[in-house]
């Protein structure tokens, strides 16, 4: 009976999101099919993965064009495949108990079904749904990794082990929803669990205790796949945690209000909380006194009046903070565990080990290279900080640009005495500023990590400097491109946002990838911005900055003009209500 209801609910859900489902299905099918067509064969990967990391990074691999870029694409995919599990876990976890009032829980819980049954149906639904959603991404990412030496059974191991981690994240999120009657708490708890797990993973080399309790470390999915072994201990731990969380969630399900009431009592409590908040803020009044007030005063004197920019940017202050905390955390670990120059000789030798390791070793998620912590950390920072960057890029942009629509007051915004073009521009610039501040944080963290490494920093500076600059330039182009698309698409209908994001993915990631993998399709690269401003070339092919910067300026100018033309001519002729 539960299965019957679940299938029906799944069907209804699918019908409700049929445009999304259709588009997603088409894109995933195209990705898998195209990858199948351009697939260079297991021999290629077999050879490729044996190449030392450093050679791939500097692009000096014989018989392979642009191997550095290929390396990064594959890395991105393998990361994507692993990262998608917890992200999907958080997303679906918050759907098991739709505490959010907008989801109509008041109606749902007024039906004859018990909350327990409702919970179990949804749980079953997401358990079915998660593997279906992540399988295509995994086929492309991990599938290509394993094609050099693995087989179907290896893929199954690599596919299933992280699934258990996803279910733990799923239940942590759902548990978060249950204890607070709020979807937000679920997201926060699930996200925190994931970030803490990932950070603990960085410490695994040094602290046995952390290694024992950290589920992320225990996954070692690809490593196990390559060895053809199952991590039974990991599976048992996950099962235990999932069951425990299910029991606790059910326990809270029957012991808290299903609806957050806005009673007078609560308003009083909130007022008290506000009072407490004001007291805390008073301690930071110097920031207002010395920074905010003078800036506001100057801006007001110059006639600055861009609330859509200012307020939307401020709305992401929390995201800025989280991003800085997460990236700083990486640095702090280095500083705390190995301060000063003492271990630098070891670091350099460890870096050699990392760089001279075959690429396949670099792909192992949570692998155990012989490097000590610092070398391993540097490698992680360099290679994996995009894990944090990607979600922040999308979430931040989306939050800023869709702010008033998501909160529902967009009808008021559009009734203000401002042109649509101006409102869109202000929001877009806010999103760009947000992205560029995040990129600046990346830059600072990466360079600061070299400073921490002390006198030996010079040895690695050239490599890291080029990497950082590449990231920054790619980031500027990519983010400009992304934000403008998202901004344009989201104004008339939020649905278009999906098309915009998929377009960005296709143009920025997928087309370059297949055009590099298959020489016959190399003309496709002309369709992407990277052909016209080859910033990766600085890193990979000794192209000078003098050549790239004008290209970047021209590229930026072209898409800015396009954006202005569309916002002034097309957007004003669209329904936006």
């Amino acid at each position: 009976m539960i299965v019957q209801f679940t299938v029906r609910r799944y069907w209804l859900d699918l019908k409700r999101h049929r445009t999304f489902a259709l588009l997603a299905a088409i894109v995933l099918a195209v990705i898998v099919a195209a990858f199948g067509i351009i697939y260079p064969g297991p021999e290629f990967f077999g050879t490729f993965f044996e190449i030392p990391v450093i050679q791939a990074l500097i692009g000096s691999i014989p018989d392979v064009d642009n191997p550095g870029l290929l390396f990064w694409f594959l890395l991105l995919f393998s990361i994507f495949a692993n990262i998608i599990y917890p992200v999907i876990g958080i997303f679906f976890g918050a759907r098991i108990l739709p505490w959010d009032e907008r989801d109509g829980k008041e109606l749902i819980f007024s039906t004859e079904k018990s909350p327990l049954r409702y919970f179990l149906e949804n749980l079953l639904l997401v358990i079915v749904l998660i593997p279906l959603v992540v399988l295509p991404a995994y086929l492309v990412g991990v599938g290509s990794l394993l094609s050099g030496g693995g087989g179907v059974s290896s893929f199954t191991i690599a596919f299933i082990l992280p699934l258990f981690f996803a279910f733990v994240v799923l239940m942590v999120t759902s548990f978060g929803c249950a204890i607070s009657s709020s979807t937000r708490t679920g997201y926060a708890l699930g996200g925190l669990f994931f970030i803490v797990s990932f950070t603990l993973d960085l410490l695994q080399q040094e602290i046995d205790f952390v290694k024992d309790i950290n589920l992320m470390t225990q996954i070692g999915a690809i490593e196990h796949a390559l060895n053809g072994t199952w991590n039974e201990e990991f599976i048992l731990r996950c099962l235990f945690l999932v069951i425990l969380l299910i029991v606790l969630t059910i326990f809270f399900l029957y012991r808290i209000d299903h609806i957050k009431t806005r009673s007078a009592y609560q308003e009083t409590v909130e007022e008290e909380n506000d009072h407490g908040k004001r007291k805390i803020m008073a301690r930071f009044s110097f920031i207002r006194k010395f920074v905010r007030t003078p800036i506001e005063s100057i801006l007001s004197r110059t006639g600055w009046n861009y609330p859509a920019f200012r307020d939307h940017l401020q709305s992401s202050a929390g995201l800025f903070l989280i991003y800085l905390v997460v990236t700083s955390m990486l640095l702090a670990i280095v500083v705390i565990v190995y301060p000063g120059d003492a271990a630098m000789e070891v670091v350099i030798s460890d870096l050699d080990i990392v760089f001279e390791s075959p690429i396949i070793a670099a792909f192992l998620f949570g692998h155990s290279l012989t490097a000590t912590l610092e070398g391993f950390l540097l490698y992680k920072i360099m290679a994996f900080h995009w894990i944090y960057y990607g979600p922040f890029l999308f979430i931040g942009t989306y939050t800023i640009i869709m702010r008033d629509r998501n909160a529902g007051y967009d009808e008021i915004t559009w009734s203000m005495p401002r042109t649509r073009t101006r409102i869109i521009m202000e929001r877009t610039i806010a999103a760009l500023v947000y992205l560029w501040i995040i990129m600046l944080a990346n830059f600072v963290v990466l360079y600061a990590s070299q400073i921490v490494l002390g006198t030996y920093a010079d040895v690695v500076l050239s490599d890291f400097g080029a990497t950082v600059l590449t990231f920054i330039f790619l980031g500027i182009g990519y983010s400009l491109f992304l934000v403008l698309f998202v901004a344009l698409a989201s104004i008339p209908r939020p649905k278009y946002l999906l098309v915009a994001l998929l377009s960005v993915f296709l143009i920025a990631v997928f087309i370059p990838m297949i055009s590099i993998l298959n020489q016959d399709l190399s003309w496709l690269l002309y369709l992407t911005p990277f052909y016209y401003f080859d910033v990766a070339g600085i890193f990979l092919q000794d192209i000078s900055f003098e050549k790239v910067i004008p290209e970047l300026i021209v590229f930026g100018a072209v898409i800015t003009v396009f954006f202005i033309a569309v916002t002034t001519k097309w957007i004003p002729t669209r329904d936006i209500a």
Binding site: R262, E270, E411, I412, T413, S415, T419, A577
Partner: protein, 309 residues
């Protein structure tokens, strides 16, 4: 017929809006004079909100044009919107702002000081809520914030989509008073509603819409004549034969045990009608206003478009 002021403030010509093949509003012609309160009356789904959103330029007409103060709204002219105050129907406000922060935001968006902000806040007794997050407010208090947003810049034209939704009767009276004062100050007000009584209280003229068509435009005095009266009574001696005394004045009659509900033509004297019921020894007698549905059923059932003459 009351003589209307000369200047046309809002002019709608042949407004048609289709959502794909679904009709929102069709061929709407309407003029609202300066200093007038115009009610836009109709049941749910009649096309009121579509019309208002077209007036605010968030929806673009499939056909037709709208002018406010002589300027085409489809141009998206910000200087025109400076003169307009707007209260949306499905009012949603950002829950993360405090009331004060949101009003500051709106003031900044409008780019000039809101001259009536504090006055309207005082009228609606919102002072104690200014520092609260909007998300913590009750539905009625949120509606008050919406009203403050609409009125605080003292606009010449006010466009309101069911402005009293969610307010208790006392606060509704405050809104009515504010509307009537604004009218005295020469403002032009356009409000949609599905509450017949509300429209009768404040509007000068009423446009009645149903199923995407304007059925008629009436002076409020004429409308009041058309609206039937209802008499409800619990009778100790329910003698149905006496009801024949109503003759053809009686439009509809319902009875349940000793409770009767009569729908009677408006033009008849209240005294005569009540007199008949008093003869039947009523325990209680009430005289509620007719609902929009009763009004529609009685006069406009089956009509979609009528001759405006």
């Amino acid at each position: 017929m009351k003589e209307l002021p000369q200047e046309i403030k809002i002019e709608i010509k042949g407004l048609t809006k289709y959502y794909g093949s679904t009709r929102g509003i069709e061929d709407l012609d309407l003029e609202v004079q300066t200093g007038e309160i115009f009610g836009f009356l109709g049941p749910n789904g009649a096309g009121k909100t579509t019309t208002i959103r077209c007036m605010m330029n968030t929806l673009l007409p499939t056909k037709g044009e709208i002018k406010i103060s002589g300027e085409l709204v489809s141009r998206g002219n910000p200087s025109l919107r400076e003169k307009i105050g707007y209260i949306p129907g499905e009012l949603a406000l950002p829950e993360y702002y405090t009331v004060n922060e949101f009003l500051n935001y709106i003031e900044a968006m409008r780019g000039k000081p809101a001259t009536r902000r504090q006055e309207i806040i005082d009228r609606f007794d919102l002072n104690s809520n200014l520092r609260k997050k909007i998300g913590a407010l009750s539905k009625g208090n949120k509606q008050k914030v919406g009203i403050v947003v609409g009125f605080m810049n003292d606009p010449d034209v006010l466009i309101m989509d069911e402005p009293t939704a969610g307010l208790d009767p006392l606060l509704q009276q405050v809104v009515f008073k504010l509307l009537l004062e604004s009218k005295k100050e020469g403002k032009t007000l356009f409000m949609s509603s599905h509450n017949l009584e509300e429209v009768q209280k404040v509007c000068d003229r009423v446009g009645i819409v149903n199923d995407g068509f304007l059925i008629s435009i009436e002076e409020i005095e004429d409308l009041n004549k058309d609206v039937p009266r209802i008499l409800e009574a619990r009778l100790r001696n329910p003698d149905e034969t006496r009801l024949t005394e109503f003759g053809d004045r009686l439009l509809e009659f319902r009875k349940h045990d000793n409770f009767v509900r009569l729908l009677i033509r408006k033009e008849d004297s209240i005294k005569d009608n009540i007199g008949i019921l008093l003869a039947m020894d009523p325990e209680e007698l009430i005289y509620p206003p007719a609902s929009l549905e009763e009004f529609f059923l009685q006069f406009y059932e089956g009509k979609t478009k009528v001759n405006m003459e």
